[in-house]
Structures are given as structure tokens and as C-alpha cells.
Amino acid sequence: MLRMDVIKRLGSFSIEASIISEDRVTGLFGMSGAGKTSLVNMIAGLLQPDRGIISIDGDTLDDTTASIHVPSHRRRIGYVFQDARLFPQMSVRQNLDYGRRMNRLEPNADEQTRVADLLDIGQLLDRRPGHLSGGERQRIALGRALLAKPRMLLLDEPLGSLDVERKAEILPYLIRLRDETGVPMVYVSHNADELRQLAGHIVLIKRGRVIASGGTELLPS
């Protein structure tokens, strides 16, 4: 379960949001500039709230009154960014293995094969990120985040930089991911169709505030 109740000032913009979600996939919906990315950055630990708490499954990640701020590298929260952010100096295989190395997990060939099959990236392993299409890069970013064994996956407009065809290419993988991995996800989008297909619990964000939360019926048609 994700709980967050935070206040954050960013220049003239401010965020005051309270979110509680027990669903497998929580969808944050809102226009660009509504503060969605700042919210997930706070969950990831890349941004520190001015005041408030963030916890996952009862485990406190931020609590400003108790001066708790778990740094991002100790949160075990996977993050798939809009721009895949693959490491250009590493092969696809090294990118995928990065989280395992950093978390000092045992090599697990079965797990790697399973994720590679899930995302159809087995044939790309020896390539460099510079030689991949946008859709391939995003699939590898997904695999890389999953193989770090996160307790939650944040997806910030993962289809945002892709054209319509590529979006249609990736969406089935995201649905498979949701159904087969069991890792809870927070999915950020300004596209109602994507969220309808993926998310169970919807949080509507506007100008840094939560204006409604509930089922997918909240999404504009």
C-alpha cells in the first residue's frame, strides 16, 4: 500500500497532495505541469518533500517530523522515465544487469531470461543503446528496472516520447508486466486511454492538488 501526504514548494508552484492506494496499479492523471512527475520523484526519493510522509506497505520512506529521508538508492523503487535513460557506455546486457550489481544480488539467469522473454529483448542484449529504436529502449528500461527487484515500479509517461505505432507496440508489454510480475506500479500519464487499460485506482491531479480519486470512471472519455 502506498501512502503519501506531502507539501512541496517549487518556485511559485506548490504541491499539496494526499494519496492512498492499495491497487496493483495507481494511475496519476493530469495535464502536463500538474505536478505528477514531482510526486513520483518524491516517491523515488529524488525530491524531498518540505513537509509530510511517504510510506510503502507500512515502511516509512519520508517523514519530515521524524527527519526521515531514505535516499533513493536504498528505496528499492524502480523508475521508468519518459526518456529511457539507458547508460550509453554500456551494452544492453550491462544496462539490464546494473541494478543487480548495485544491489549486490546473486546472478539469476532464470530471472534474466524470464524478463527478457516478457519484454522480447533477448535479441538486443549485445547492442548499444545508441543503436536502438525508441520502443526498444523503453522496453529495456522496463527490464532494467524490473531486474533490480523493486518493491514498486514508477512509470512516468513511459510512452510519452513514442509515436502512436510505438505506443501500441509497448502497451501490451505493460499489461503483461502488470499481470505477470505482481510488482505494484504507479503509472503517470496525461492519456486517459492508457490509464483505462492499465490502472485500477485513479488519482486526478491539477495544479499540484489531488482533485479526485477513485475508479477509472473518473477518467474523461
Binding site: 523515488a44 526519493g45 529524488l46 535516499p71 533513493s72 538508492h73 536504498r74 528505496r75 528499492r76 523503487i77 524502480g78 523508475y79 522515465f81 526518456d83 535513460r85 547508460f87 550509453p88 557506455q89 546494473y98 541494478g99 548495485m102 544491489n103 548499444r128 545508441g130 543503436h131 532494467r144 528496472a145 533490480a148
Partner: protein, 231 residues
């Protein structure tokens, strides 16, 4: 023309040893300082930046004299190092290396700092969410991506150290076999009657070393860049 006397060989090899030691020891320090200047926010950053660049704008004689005052046998740091660790700089090749390292330091820091600043911080954030501590983010992402700048800085520093004259001669004098580098040897030869031919040979050698360093840096930088965006 290229028949070098043993004395000339000594000066050449000493120069290479001094410059290599100066570059290798200064590089890790320069990487740390460059990272601080590029990424850290702390009070006094402008002062650190200024101190790093000081050897570039001070007369080399002044830098050499300050080194003598600090690291000389009777200098504050020099006396302590000699008494406690047995490290002596004055009139030794190690002192020449220290002088060269200090003089080359700004040339080393600048390209490294620029290349660290050019590393996409979003990649560092991604590494952090994958479980990399700040130190490992630095060693696995920032430093490898900044490598072309590190190589460029090292070559520049090496070339500078090979040619360093003013600070070295002020600090550790001009002792054949110990502190007489190519530049100091050329200087001595020019002042010696009939030393012109020998001086010219050493001039040719130093031109050759400088050219080789430049070509090597070009090749290394190209390879490093290829590796980053590479095939």
C-alpha cells in the same frame, strides 16, 4: 644529430619520469576537485576555484618560491614531512614532480570539470533509483562518461609538466641527474659556450615528445568517445 650524450639521455628520462609522476599523482586529486567544482554546493567554492587556477596566472617563479617556503627542508609542511614520513622534496626529483604537478593542476582540472558538467544528471538519477550509492554512481556512470575529458586533461598536464621550467628551477634548482629536466638542461646548455648543438638536439626531442603527446591524446580521446557512443 640524434647521437645523444648520456647526460642528455639522463635529462630526457628524468623529464619523462617527473612528468609521468606528476600527472599520475595529480589526476585522482584533480578528479576529486573537478567533481566538487562541478557538482557540489558549498561555501568557499569560488575560493577553491581561484586557488586551483592560481598557478596558471602567478609567475612560475612565485609558485616555485611559495613551494620552497612550504615544502622546502625548513618549510612548514616540508619539515614535518621530512621528520615524520621521511619524504623530502627539496633538491630531489620528487620536488620537481611536485612543482610540475602544481603547475599542471589547473590544466588537468578544467577539462575534467567541463566533462563532468556535461554528464547528464538524469542518468545519475536513474542509476541511483537502481540502487547505486553516490560513490558508485560516480565510479560507474559519471567517471566513465567523463573519461574523454580526463584523458584530455592528463595529456595536457603531461605536456605542461614536461616543459615546466620556472617553478621547478626555483624550487629544486638545476642539478644534473636529480632535478635537471629537459628545459633546465636546455637553459644550461644555452649559457654554455659551444652548447648550441646540444641545446638544439634537446629542443628537437622536446618538440617530438610534445607532438607525440598531442597525437596520442587525439587517438585516446577518439577511442574513448567511440566507446561511449559506440558500436
Amino acid at each position: 644529430m640524434m647521437d645523444l650524450t648520456p647526460d642528455e639521455w639522463t635529462a630526457i628520462l628524468l623529464s619523462i619520469r617527473v612528468a609521468a609522476a606528476a600527472t599520475l599523482i595529480a589526476t585522482p586529486i584533480a578528479i576529486g576537485v573537478a567533481w566538487l567544482l562541478a557538482r557540489a554546493r558549498f561555501p568557499g567554492k569560488a575560493a577553491i576555484d581561484a586557488i586551483v587556477h592560481l598557478p596558471l596566472v602567478l609567475p612560475p617563479v612565485v609558485t616555485g618560491y611559495l613551494l620552497l617556503l612550504t615544502f622546502g627542508r625548513r618549510g612548514l609542511v616540508g619539515a614535518w614531512l621530512a621528520d615524520n614520513l621521511g619524504i623530502v622534496f627539496s633538491f630531489r626529483w620528487t620536488g620537481a614532480a611536485l612543482a610540475c604537478g602544481v603547475m599542471a593542476f589547473p590544466l588537468l582540472v578544467r577539462p575534467i570539470r567541463l566533462s563532468i558538467e556535461a554528464v547528464d544528471r538524469r542518468l545519475e538519477q536513474a542509476a541511483s533509483t537502481l540502487g547505486a550509492s553516490p560513490w558508485r554512481v560516480f565510479t560507474t556512470i559519471t567517471l566513465p562518461l567523463a573519461l574523454p575529458g580526463v584523458v584530455a586533461g592528463m595529456v595536457l598536464a603531461f605536456a605542461k609538466a614536461i616543459g615546466e621550467f620556472g617553478a621547478t628551477i626555483t624550487f629544486v634548482s638545476n642539478i644534473p641527474g636529480e632535478t635537471q629536466t629537459i628545459s633546465a638542461a636546455i637553459y644550461s646548455l644555452i649559457q654554455t659556450p659551444n652548447g648550441d648543438a646540444a641545446a638544439l638536439r634537446l629542443v628537437m626531442i622536446s618538440v617530438a615528445i610534445a607532438l607525440t603527446a598531442l597525437i596520442a591524446s587525439e587517438i585516446l580521446a577518439r577511442r574513448a568517445t567511440q566507446r561511449l557512443h559506440g558500436a
